[in-house]
């Protein structure tokens, strides 16, 4: 009995071994028989793994081979005249390959089978790679429990390497595509977005509101420069085609300091290459005029530039309102400059100007004592603001305005400047007949100056005026002062959100939404052996993985739009030669300001030692100077 049982066990084991050996032998035979196709399949699978390709890329490659196959079969059928036997052609090629190989011409055989073997191999490779990716995504693949995690991390590294290689190739990522979309870089990975090699944002997205978040040194400026250059280039293209206005990009850099000047210089050089004819750096090199505002708006703006107290101070606010209104609404017209305005803040002048108006005269009598105080406050305000808002100049003067607000060093001044700039821009955009420009307002770290211009008001106002607003900040908290405002800004960014490395991406990840995934559990038999049964369940997982965002490298960004995300390796735009040889110094209090030439003070000239005499050359070419002693120095 025992003997019979042992024999039965031995036979059963032998049968199992035989069955397994048969399976392996059949598989090997199939692999060998389909040799060219299996080689292509193995190669494509390896390439997809190495480069982190999505399976659809292999499917697409296989599909692109079909026309070649069709042409081959068509030509063959035309040659033989037997259209009914066309379906047998793949097998015929395969047989022919082996015949040629047997005759000692393996290369000729491979060439014969290649038209059929390549698409077949690509298809097999794509199917195998799809299965691998799918099994890892749902957690059933791999030998160990952490295999899916390791696979994902490794694939991320491969995808990043591929994206970097793609943007390193010259001309691989042109700024603007043929369809007018703005290319920002190479795609690393997409989730819920269609896959592509190049990340492109249609122009309409830049004409909507966008949010950019990224800490210092993560490539935020590089990304913004690319988006701005794309905006300028596409808008010019549309303008030339007669389907839009000229571009007007206004950047409010609310940090200030030497870094902002360096960025301004880079912006100028990059955008010049993109087609911007002129870049004005405010207030260092150009000026705007707050005095061009309509009179009633000018009164409101000037009053808001001055900080008022509460309680008893409200009385003085009303007095100031009356005085400023009378100075601006004078019958002779509104003032043309701060000097003109200050000269009007004189009780005698105001009484004379409004002599024909009894009500204004009475008001003047009541507030005559306070006029000097009002003048003092405005004199102090204009001294601190500098001449940047005193004209001449308007947003028509340049395609790009880079406005530097010293939000870090001079917060109160920067707040007043921001207020005035927003008013000037609003008046420009709302002027009769329209501005004639497609305006993009880019605001960087506006929260630094948003105490008196809440960013939400700016946001809403820009929307009502048809301006696109791009808000950028170093962190979620830098978006706005209050959490409600942050959510309102992020939730209404219908042009998408760009996330670079930031330590707190969770609110944005939540806003990006979730997707359904399958989660599988398996039973573990030993330390690495899995049983064949388990459980699977559908669950929701976040579209944007906060951990990926936290670990993004320099130049990598996650673009979140309509419930999907595209991870992008941003392509840096190369500008012309730098005008800055090294790190520049922060401007002093008396930094050069643009003023009317007639009011420009004489700068102190550097002194030189005695110059060498050049009079011989000049006398030879232009004749001797006859009037050296005409006017004594």
């Amino acid at each position: 009995m025992i003997r019979a049982y042992v024999t039965w066990v031995a036979l059963r084991a032998a049968g199992r071994v035989l069955r397994a050996a048969l399976k392996v032998a059949t598989a090997i035979a199939a692999v060998v028989a389909a040799t060219p196709a299996t080689v292509v399949a193995a190669y494509s699978y390896t390439i997809a793994w190495l480069l982190g390709w999505p399976p659809r890329r292999l499917y697409r490659a296989a599909a692109w081979c079909l026309p070649m196959l069709g042409v081959l079969f068509g030509a063959q059928a035309l040659r033989t005249g037997q259209w009914g036997d066309t379906w047998r052609e793949p097998f015929g090629s395969w047989r022919q390959m082996w015949r040629l190989a047997a005759r000692g011409a393996p290369l000729a055989g491979l060439a014969t089978a290649a038209p059929v073997a390549i698409p077949t191999g690509l298809l097999i490779g794509a199917l195998a790679w799809s299965y691998r990716v799918f099994s890892m995504e749902i957690g059933t693949g791999g030998l160990t429990a952490d295999a899916p995690i390791t696979f994902d991390l490794r694939q991320w590294r491969h995808q990043v390497r591929s994206a970097r290689a793609r943007i390193a190739a010259p001309g691989a990522v042109p700024l603007v595509s043929r369809r007018g979309a703005i290319a920002t870089g190479a795609v690393i990975r997409t989730v819920q977005h269609p896959g592509a090699a190049t990340a492109r944002a249609p122009y309409a997205r830049l004409r909507s509101h966008q949010v950019v978040i990224g800490t210092t040194g993560t490539g935020k400026t590089t990304l913004l420069l690319r988006l701005w250059a794309g905006f300028v280039a596409v808008t010019w293209r549309r303008f030339a085609a007669g389907s839009g206005g000229r571009p007007l990009l206004i950047v409010l850099d609310c940090k200030g300091g030497a870094d902002s000047r360096q960025v301004a210089d880079r912006v100028r050089r990059v955008l010049r290459s993109a087609g911007a004819r002129s870049t004005a750096v405010w207030p260092d090199e150009a000026s705007l005029s707050v005095w061009d505002l309509p009179a009633d708006q000018l009164v409101t703006t000037l009053l808001e530039l001055i900080e008022h107290g509460v309680g008893g101070a409200a009385y003085y606010a009303d007095v100031m309102d009356a005085v400023v209104s009378m100075a601006i609404m004078a019958p002779c017209g509104p003032p043309a400059s701060s000097a003109d305005f200050l000269s009007r803040l004189d009780a005698d002048w105001l009484a004379l100007a409004h002599a024909s108006d009894p009500a204004a005269r009475n008001a003047m009598r009541w507030s005559a004592k306070q006029v000097a105080d009002v003048a003092l406050r405005f004199r102090a305000l204009f001294r601190r603001l500098g001449t940047g808002l005193d004209g001449p100049g308007s947003f028509d003067d340049a395609d790009v305005w880079y406005c530097i607000l010293e939000g870090t060093a001079e917060t109160a001044v920067a707040e007043a400047q921001a207020k005035a700039l927003v008013e000037i821009l609003a008046a420009y955009a709302a002027r009769p007949g329209g501005s004639g420009a497609e305006i993009l307002l880019a605001v960087d770290e506006f929260s630094a100056v948003s105490r008196r211009v809440p960013i939400w008001h700016l946001y809403e106002r820009a929307r009502s005026l048809g301006l696109a607003v791009q808000v950028s900040a170093q962190s979620w908290h830098g978006l706005a002062e209050r959490n409600d405002d942050r959510y309102r800004i992020a939730a209404t960014a219908d042009g998408g959100i760009w996330l670079l490395r930031t330590p707190f991406p969770d609110p944005i990840s939540e806003l990006a939404g979730s997707r359904r995934m399958v989660d599988t559990t398996r039973k573990l038999l030993g330390w690495w052996l899995w049983r064949g049964d388990g459980y699977a369940r559908a669950h929701y997982t976040q579209v944007v993985d906060p951990d990926i965002v936290r670990s993004l490298d320099v130049g990598q960004a996650a673009y979140i739009y309509r419930g999907g995300v595209t991870y992008v390796q941003v392509k840096r735009l190369v500008a012309g030669l730098s005008a800055i040889p090294g790190r520049i110094l922060a401007p002093t209090q008396g930094a050069p300001q643009a003023v009317a030439p007639s009011r420009r003070p004489l700068p102190a000239a550097p002194q030189l030692e005695r110059l060498p005499d050049a009079s011989q050359l000049l006398d030879d070419v232009f004749g001797a100077e006859q009037h050296r002693g005409e006017v004594s120095g």
Binding site: A258, R261, Q262, A264, D265, R268, R269, R272, R277, S278, T279, A280, V281, D284, E285, A286, S287, D397, A398, A579, I580, I584, L585, A586, P587, A591, P592, A594, V595, P597, S598, R600, L602, P603, A604, A605, P606, Q607, L608, R610, L611, P612, D613, A614, S615, L617, L618, D620, V621, F622, G623, E625, Q626, H627, R628, E630, V631, S632, G633
Partner: protein, 250 residues
Amino acid sequence: MTTSATPSGGTAPAATWLTQRDIDGLVFTGEMYGIQLDQLTTLLTATEERARAVSARWRAHGYADTARLGPGKAWLWLTRMGLAACGLPYSAAPPALSRLAHIRAVTAVRLALESSGVYRTAAATWRSERRLRACTGRPGAAVHIPDGEVHWPDSADVPYAGECWAIEAELTAKTVRRTASIMAELLARTGDYGCPATQRAVPGASPWHARALYLCSPAARHTVVRARGELGAALAARIEVRDLPPGARM
């Protein structure tokens, strides 16, 4: 583009027919906004008929255009194709009517300087107002741009080697204060055109323009001399005032 046969049997663009003199003339014209035919004659050191033939050839290639814009001879300026061929990043446009006299005066100054043996021996270079304006990148910027700059190489065998001169051609008189302001700005400048505002006038740094050369018409001479007097002895020593060369007026 017109093509011509080459010995190898291929084709080459018609630009291969341009001589070095053509290239120099095209670049000169592009840098100076435009040039009048008599000045082109001087530039090419040719007869007027020859200069006309050259300009006709440039026009036939599509590199230049000509028209009689004002008094005197016809004007010649580079087209978009000509500017692209010369590698000049400017917008193609005929010389503005309001600036014809000024452009002619500046061109006369440049031709006079470049005709001198010292200038040629020293291999000095002229940087035109158009180039300087392109460097600043902002038309109408609140900086004054001179009508030209002359750069003397460090290796030149002249006492003023390594210097950069600002050139101003004055046809009409401005106010003394305005002229003095421009002079002071030119001499106070420490950075190249296109540099950040913070480097434009850095205390203690060496000046960008070692001296300013004013070439004046009789009408403007008195104002310029008075403006120089307003600056004080140290700065006035760096201002050279001379008369415009003959032929500078239209």
